[in-house]
């Protein structure tokens, strides 16, 4: 039996805040090893959907299937244990921690030392600590932040913080990474760097779902694009198909 092809399946998801429908009957599939981009005007419900997938919001109706398993209603802190990690649109780097510590926190769900073991600093804790540190250093190298491990998160420029968040999300070996506007606020060369990193992730077999406004970037990296508008799925297809879709053009440029 082959493994299910879909890494993530969003099935008829609805989300309402009071009377406002933020998501209406949204369905799509993210295939294993692909990069899927969600685009759409502001307020289209893109971040809301990411929040539903990661358990920050609960879907009003519909299901989220991860590797064929229904994960709707999961608590946010359980999501990472399944192998889903994410970054945030408005940076959520831990400001008072060094870059290295930031990435080390990302390994939280892959380590198990308990409260009392940490108080006593047992051999197991020491061993785990060393592994976590090495892995975090490796990740900092991957996102081109080697040498900045001791700088506090707050002192890094925006571009570095974005890549720091990426490293923090990757350090736990996730199967699926959700990136919320990975290149917003970045200049051209930083955007290109981020694009290279994301393509490298795909090469290594990771599945990526991202939200982004920068069209050049989206067209460059994504295999599949999902367009949302006012909480509804407007279109889905390859970059070329989306570029020529009348409905998408209408939604973006007005009739």
């Amino acid at each position: 039996m082959k493994r299910a092809k879909a890494m993530l399946e969003v099935a008829n998801v609805n989300k309402s805040f009071g009377g406002i429908m933020a998501l209406m009957d949204v369905s799509f599939r993210v295939d294993r090893g692909t990069i899927t981009a969600m685009i759409g005007p502001n307020g289209a419900g893109k971040t809301t959907l990411l929040n539903v997938i990661t358990g920050i919001y609960m879907a009003s109706a519909g299901e989220i299937l991860f590797e064929g398993k229904n994960i709707s209603g999961i608590r946010p802190h359980q999501v990472s244990y399944l192998g889903i990690s994410r970054t945030f649109q408005n940076l959520q780097v831990f400001q008072n921690m060094s870059a290295l510590e930031n990435v080390m926190v990302g390994s939280h769900c892959r380590t198990s030392a308990g409260f009392i073991a940490c108080l006593a600093r047992t051999l197991k804790v020491k061993r785990e600590e060393k592994e976590v540190r090495n892995r975090a250093m490796e990740m900092l190298g991957f996102v081109n932040l080697a040498g900045k491990q001791n700088q506090p998160g707050s002192s890094l420029p925006c571009g570095d913080q974005k890549r720091l968040e990426l490293a923090r999300a990757l350090v736990s070996h996730p199967k699926l990474v959700l990136l919320d506007e990975p290149v917003s606020g970045l200049n051209n060369s930083e955007t290109e760097e981020m694009g290279d990193l994301i393509l490298k992730l795909k090469e290594s077999g990771m599945t990526v779902l991202l939200v982004e406004h920068d069209m050049n970037f989206v067209m460059r990296v994504s295999d599949v694009i999902v367009v949302l508008n006012y909480g509804e799925k407007l279109a889905q297809g390859s970059p070329a198909e989306i570029q020529n879709d009348d409905m998408v053009i209408a939604a973006y440029l007005g009739d």
């Binding site: 921690m97 006593a120 506090p152």
Partner: protein, 348 residues
Amino acid sequence: MQPFGFRENANTCYLLILAFTLVFLPLLIRSSYYLLVVNLIGLNTILVVGLNLLIGYAGQISIGHAAFFGMGAYFSAILTTSFGLSVWFPSWFPGWLIPWVIILFAMLFTGAVAYLIGIPTLKLKGNYLVMATLGFNIIFEIVLVEWDSVTGGANGMAGVPYLAVGDFYFNSDLRFYCLVWSLCLLTLIVSFNLVNSRVGRAMKAIHDSEVAANTMGINTHRYKVKVFVLSAVFASLAGSLYAHYITVITPKSCDIMYSIQVVIMVIVGGIGSVWGSLFGATLLILLSEVLHVIEKFNVVALGLILMLVMIFFPEGLIPGLLKRRRSQVQSSPFRSRRSEVRSQTSDL
């Protein structure tokens, strides 16, 4: 830029210096009054370190820790005096060990109470948590005063026995000095272990961004409850030791004023700084001894000091002074340089 292990090694180094100083300190201090003051500093440090983990690392403020201190003190006092507990222990069990066992049970009991209180109250945020812990402290005080058949009411309890190991009684200031400062060093060591571990990082993460911490797989509520319990257990240990040292315990020694005083120690010493806890406790205890001269204005002076520290050193006296000194040495106007300095001092 220093290698990452720098801070931990520095802490080990400072701890050794502290231990060394502590060995020789009694040689300098001849008067038993000064030793008493030093012992009080040790007792308070045990409590303040725990509270600092809660306030500085998990970002939760409690004005109820005097109650946990009192819980430990009264638990020890009641069980070693009015209850004839020794009949419960088998005859081969050495009598001197019983108070120690009771101290452990006091810590367990206080931890359990903190757990039960923590589950609902730590769902509250900011001011509401402060109010809830404050309320708990008030209730605890009222129970102590009103339940006088057990707690001795407003007069408290006297005649708490000294702790002992075999025939060696911790009945002088110098002997108790050895006991309390060994335990204080131990508290500092385990706190450093915790801070520089997976759990410590999780706590700091909660402080900085709860949403992101949650996404990393950190069950924020559970961590807050655990740190709350740990800080209560430290407070209970300090309370038990206090009862066995002073041998008298009254509701006055665990009232709200004391709760506020220990929070001031945390803030003055430096929020989120383990070493700051030691300095905060030292400074405030010394001050309150000096300020005895002006008796009633004691509280006014304390308030004034807190205000001044908050205005001039919002990150606490020790981290603030260190930062100021280093930035004078380097006096570089660039932000990155300054923040690097902050990163070096923030974990002191």
